[in-house]
């Protein structure tokens, strides 16, 4: 397996299967993961994720390479859904391995924070037959900016 693994799909993410194999390297001393799910707010019936057919893959590859270089991690997996998802389904799964815990954990935090504002995805919430686009929040921008300006 290459050190940067990108998995972009409209099929449900099998989080357990995705993470298998990442810790097989004997020099790995730590593994860290983050999974984002479609959250039930009482009214949400589905979440729709759209992506760019070329630029999204490219952006995820770039983010993964930056994470490897910046944190010195051994391996990274970024798996992201697109299409329509029901409440409780995973949207994104990030897994890292490294010799020690801190780079593994920091690389996961970096990747999800950067991905939210730098990877071409567009999120739409469905409540029955009506929908609204989800704009990135101020917190999303602040977290991304902190990493990009080295203030983490």
């Amino acid at each position: 397996m290459d050190s940067a693994n990108i998995f972009l799909t409209d099929e449900p993410l099998n989080v357990t299967a995705l993470s298998e194999g990442l810790t097989a390297n004997p020099k790995v001393g730590a593994g860290a993961t983050f999974t984002g799910y479609v959250r039930d707010d009482g009214e949400l019936t589905a979440l729709e994720l759209r992506h760019h057919p070329i630029m999204t893959q490219t952006a995820l590859e770039q983010i993964a390479r930056i994470a490897i270089d910046r944190f010195g991690i051994t391996e990274i997996l970024i798996a992201h859904r697109y299409g329509r998802m029901e409440v409780g389904e995973p949207i994104v799964h990030i897994a890292t391995t490294a010799p020690h815990r801190r780079p593994a954990l920091d690389a996961v935090s970096f990747t999800i924070d950067i991905l939210k504002t730098q990877a071409p995805f567009w999120k739409r919430e469905w409540r029955g037959d009506t929908s609204n686009w989800v704009e990135p929040t101020r917190e999303d921008h602040d977290k991304s900016t902190q990493w990009l300006e080295g203030k983490e």
Partner: protein, 85 residues
Amino acid sequence: MKLAIEYFGPVGDRMGPGSDTVTLDDRSVSLESLIDRIAKQLENGEAIRDPHLRIAINDQLCGKTDILTLNDGDRIAFLSPFSGG
């Protein structure tokens, strides 16, 4: 020179379904000028003047101060702010 105009995210709802085609005489333009010239040729063109949009040419993001060299058939994409994860 003809350019194909594409939309991604909420801006696509404001511009209507599908892509558009515009014509441009100059091959070398600033990004600001390009947006202005495209907006003037489109029915709902004001929507693409939103400063929060990102612009890509042939799937490569542009910088706001870029001077662009365009070719016939280039694809200009207007991308709404990203909201992944």
